[in-house]
Symmetry: C2
Subunit: 744 residues, 2 copies
């Protein structure tokens, strides 16, 4: 690496304002702004911390490093096959893209010359399965990295770890010397993608499979049928997909392509056909299967719908036998998901024939009827060689013990199942469509600390699944809902619940998020495009782009199911609005909150010490001020710009708030830095204003209200600071600023 500096005498002095210039003629802020930005670089990058996610079960860093240079080559003297070889090729291509170095194609035949030696004992299962051995070990020394695994899938997991270890310094790229023994805590680590409500084409599934493989998720749960769409070709009952999908379905050949793509990455594909509810789209072509006469249309609205299969109709089981037989042949996984959730039973109650059937069969009630239906399903699945999995509601004493229960209700419901001998996986707490921050998912555990399960019962908890329900995601936005948060969930499934350092998780997550772009994920890439689309012609003006960006950085989509109550939407509503561009878990929000913490509870107390030492000036981190200036500026601009652009009207709703936040923060900072106390009603007025700003608008909410609230209270409580220790001060302000009711 050549670095040319000669000829350009740059020194700190040259950055200062030229003394002979008057401020009237030449604004002094430019060099100051330059200095200010430089001050941010006081914190140096810490290259010593690793960026592994999930963290391996056992990892020990040693002195030394394996250089990654143009001579890098791979050898695989043990078992090798098409699956391993193509994983090696992909890994080397990713390494090339990240380093910009072209490496040799193909394998190195001389093991001594290879930087990476892969010793794989055998192929493992030809189709990834629940009992796959995913363990591997990775020993990196100055001369070689040795990756050992019992199976190809284990080797694949190790390759991803190898890629995450890549580091660099002035001497070039390297893998640090390390000794890793790794295997997952849970065997079922899944991501559910709902392709029923909003269709997700092949490329969405493929790039997400690559993302899953990168963080060692091993199950793709495809939610294939819903009220809003029947997304798989049935050769036996073609009216199902032809009339139930708007043409948006996978042919069986395409689905085979997905399954193979997943298999190549060591990922199972578990299909879900949600029954007997969530089935409106089935009835468009086959109204005779419903509990109420047709005709039916594909559902376009969201919610829990009434249409439901008629379990008293013997013809239903004939169709299901045919259809599930087809699907059993198509999907190689041992498990098939029958859904079973949210059956309201209204149409059952309204249908005398069904009520008579319940009586005749002594099924007691709707729950009994659904259990009967599930038993019939379970026999059909057994006939076709599949094990059954379903949501909480399938739990019923009459069902065989080999079913797996997926819990949307919670760890307690899951534990109850386990006590009855059922195996289960947890999804409650991993609903990524609800826009919670990653730390909440990260601290949610399939087997919580306070579990009442015995060690033996705990073995029945197989793992968990993040769920990407798709009411509010399009192919354009889905990646930004799945990633990077799902990487934190993947770590939770892989690793002991003892590891729960949220700050370190977020630090690694930011790095992993960038790496996930290498496999084609669009979570970072699409929001700017969507902003430009909102801006239209204004997108050609940098200041317009910057001000919209400043807003979008500090808002998040509303949480939980709030969006549905704020915006009327159907399957056809374009998902191109402010709430679609805003992302969960705002990094800018975390950064600002951390900067305020630093300012209020470290810099400010420290300033007293400085004063005591006779140093009258102190120099805080400029971050809070820069943020406030940015918001004031951005809000002012948005307010002007949005006038002529209807698609900016939602953003314009926030313009005044953004200005106000900048102004309130700015005022509070000035009071604090100048050691002045605000007069009169200032505190009450500002807090009232903040309370207004905290209310969601346009289905997004502002994430920096709380730290600004702390600033305001701290400014008003200035005098008390002088009588308090740093800890007392922090506790005092945090208590006064605490939200009245818990957030979320």
């Amino acid at each position: 690496m050549k670095r040319r500096r000669a000829g350009y005498p740059i020194n700190a002095e040259s950055l200062l304002p030229m003394k002979e210039m008057t401020i009237r003629k030449y604004p002094a802020f430019l060099p100051l702004a330059a200095l200010c930005a430089l001050s941010v670089f006081a914190q140096e990058t810490q290259m010593t911390k690793h960026n592994l996610m999930p963290i391996p079960a056992s990892v020990r860093f040693n002195p030394g490093r394996l250089a990654i240079a143009a001579s890098f080559a791979v050898t695989a003297p043990g078992h090798n096959d098409a699956r391993l070889q193509s994983a090696i090729d992909r890994a080397v291509r990713r390494l090339e893209a990240r380093t910009g170095i072209a490496f040799a194609r193909g394998l190195e035949s001389d093991p001594a010359k290879a930087a990476l030696l892969i010793q794989c004992q055998g192929p493992g299962r030809s189709v990834p399965s629940l009992d796959e051995d995913e363990s591997y070990s990775l020993e990196v020394t100055n001369s070689q990295a040795r990756l050992s695994a019992a199976t190809v899938v284990g080797a694949l997991r190790g390759l991803e770890t190898f890629l995450q270890l890549l580091g660099s310094d002035k001497d070039g790229y390297f893998i640090p010397a390390v000794s890793i023994q790794d295997k997952p805590r849970f065997p079922w680590r899944g991501l559910l993608i709902d392709i029923g409500r909003h269709w997700q084409p092949m490329e969405v599934i493929k790039r997400n499979l690559d993302g899953m493989a990168a963080v060692k998720i091993n199950v793709l749960h495809l939610h294939i049928t819903e009220d809003q769409g029947f997304r798989i070709e049935s050769k036996k009952y073609p009216k199902l997909h032809q009339m139930g999908s708007d043409g948006n379905y996978y042919t069986q050949a395409e689905m085979r392509e997905i399954i193979e793509y997943a298999r190549m990455r060591g990922i199972r594909v578990v299909p879900e056909f949600d029954m007997p509810g969530h089935t409106t789209s089935w009835f468009v072509g086959h109204p005779e299967l419903a509990s109420k006469p047709g005709p039916y249309e594909i559902e376009r609205r969201w919610g829990i719908m009434e249409p439901v299969m008629d379990p008293s109709n013997e013809q239903l089981y004939k169709v299901l036998d045919g259809f599930l037989g087809e699907m059993a042949a198509l999907f190689p996984d041992a498990y098939l998901h029958i859904g079973g959730d949210e059956v309201e039973g209204k149409h059952w109650k309204e249908n005398p024939k069904i009520q008579a059937f319940i009586q005749a069969k002594d099924l007691k009630d709707n729950h009994g009827l659904q259990a009967y239906f599930n038993q019939r399903l379970s026999q059909i699945l057994k006939k076709h060689g599949k094990k059954m999995i379903g949501w909480d509601e399938v739990l019923h004493p009459d069902l065989p013990k080999d079913i797996v229960v997926q819990s949307w209700r919670g760890p307690q419901s899951l534990a109850e199942g386990a006590k009855k001998g059922y195996r289960g996986i947890l999804s409650n707490g991993y609903y990524i469509d609800l826009i919670q921050p990653a730390w909440q998912h990260y601290l949610n555990d399939p087997i919580p600390e306070n579990t009442t399960l015995s060690a033996e019962e705990q073995k029945l908890i197989l793992g968990g699944e993040a769920t990407m329900w798709s009411e509010w995601v399009s192919p354009e936005t889905i990646d930004s809902r799945i990633w990077p948060r799902t990487a934190a969930i993947a770590e939770r499934f892989w690793l002991s619940r003892e590891v729960k350092d949220v700050d370190d998780m977020y630090r690694r997550l930011a790095v992993v998020s960038v790496q996930l772009e290498d496999v084609g994920l669009l979570h970072e890439k699409n929001p700017p495009v969507m902003m430009r689309r909102l801006l239209g012609e204004l997108a050609t003006r940098e200041e317009a782009v910057e001000s919209l960006k400043a807003l979008i950085e500090v808002v998040e989509p509303v949480k939980g199911y709030k969006r549905g109550t704020m915006q009327n939407a159907t399957q056809f509503t374009p998902l191109t609005r402010l709430a679609d561009i805003a992302r969960p878990d705002s990094p800018a929000g975390r950064k600002f909150a951390a900067a305020i913490d630093q300012f209020l509870y470290q810099d400010l107390p420290r300033s007293r010490e400085l004063a005591r030492e006779g140093k009258t000036t102190w120099r805080p981190d400029f971050t809070p001020m820069l943020f406030c200036a940015k918001w004031l500026n951005a809000g002012t601009q948005l307010d002007r710009l949005a006038v002529n652009v209807p698609s900016l009207s939602e953003s314009a709703l926030w313009a005044g708030d953004l200005m106000a936040l900048g102004k309130i923060g700015d005022e509070a900072l000035k009071y604090l830095m100048n050691d002045q106390s605000p007069q009169g009603e200032w505190r009450a007025a500002k807090l009232a204003q903040l309370e207004e700003i905290a209310k969601p608008k346009a289905a997004v909410e502002m994430v920096v209200v709380q730290p600004i609230k702390e600033l305001v209270i701290a400014a008003a409580e200035q005098e008390k600071r002088k009588t308090m220790s740093a800890e007392e001060w922090k506790k005092h302000i945090k208590t006064l600023a605490a939200p009245k009711k818990p957030v979320n």
Copy 2:
């Protein structure tokens, strides 16, 4: 649109520094910075100018507008078919994405209720062809838009115009009232994509077809075979693709998918099989077709290679008859491109059998041999019902007059062909791989003003093609080389050469560039991703991202064939470097140059008048100062940051230059604004420094050297300004600053 402002009293005063704060305690630059950014908004958006590209042949705006609201619907009472219907559906989806409004699905049956009425007379050709009628008219009034066309393809062209007309103001979205009659100037408006050198998968081709359709390009010329790859499945000679492609080829089914995708958009697909040179990849599986004994390997280097087919081998024609017969059946277009360029003939000279053949057939020389080969090819093509097209070199008196000549040599070569009666298309001047600015392509005309062709001969010039040769493009970067510049070329092919307002072209191009993202093009989207990849861990730090961005904005890849002389590369070299992220035709460069023009030749002269009027202060546009501060800052940061990141080493080469540019610009601006003259060697020293900075490094070049040079010279010539008129001053500085030799 609701706009909430109440409760947030923001006025201009509140943006000013609080007077009671001292500068020591609270830096004053923040509110100043805010003010400064606001000043940019003095220029208001001009919504009155249209953003059409290509500009229609005849367009007249009228008073009034058609509102685009939720009630928007389309009707098509004339001819309708799957092609038109799916184009309508796509157009409505794009309109939805841009407005955020959900429109009705399907057609409106009552023509009176439809905002857009499409009157199409008939289907036109089932496969797009050279004589397709692409004309349409579009009449928009307050109540309806009426699009009329003789063919579906004409209607498709009109739909794109309709989308480009979308405007907005405080009352919402609308299409301005307008009367358009439109048809293309040339019938052959093409884009060549070379899939031989760097493989381009299906999604690249598809999204580019959508981009082409958006700017009314009607030919996709696929350069399918090259020394570096044979990219189409041959069922008759499977060794061709199996051994010549690394597995990167289109199956015939996939190619049919591309052709159909293109047909749906009114785009022809013309396949090129480059022969007899550029054929190394053929010989890997079929060495017997070559002029020199094998074995052959797929070529990995770039350049003109020696391997060439043996025209004296009768077996060759048997294979070509078989292969071209297959291809003729696969590609429905009337034309088939046989390449024919860059035959060196070295292997012909070295082969006594071939030399004997030349003598026996009285072919004189290699050129005669190639003409013989082309004649044989022409017979084969005739047999399979195809017309032949080839590069300049195919021109030979023995060839039939119905061939089309594609000129890489230039308009003169093209004109020579026309004078001999050959039809032709121009590609010289449209080589988008050479990284020239859009205006150069835009002002290049297939029939230049000074043409010597008669009106009759001019009719033989069918149009032109932009050529995306792929030595230096990957699927990740190709869009940024094709777009947006190709939109300017598309306009050149569509429109009279009289329309050549470069400034207006760039204004519209910026808007179209953003719109092209709507069809999935990645020219704006990918560079930030590639920057983050270079930055690695640093990508999580905003200041690192911003400083790399500041560099990349003001560099362009080196022009012409210079990159090959600066960087050693093969087909395997990762295209992830600085030169791959940098883009042609830097908008920031244009913006800075315009700002310096404004400052030096308008604001500065105007300041004298102000002084004369007794106004001692003047307030220039801050843009030049902000740029300089940004570069100084970014250079300083890059210099620090790059130390530990090898992939930033190329960027680090520019860090000192960036600092120096910022500093030189800053100094010159200060001299000029304070009416001071630099002392001693300043001018000479700075000009020498700029000359160094102007030299390319890391295969990119700096675009802002010239305006900074003008600043330096203007600062040094200060005194003379006082004796000159504004025009004299401008001429004086421009003359002194003129580059010694023309750029490019």
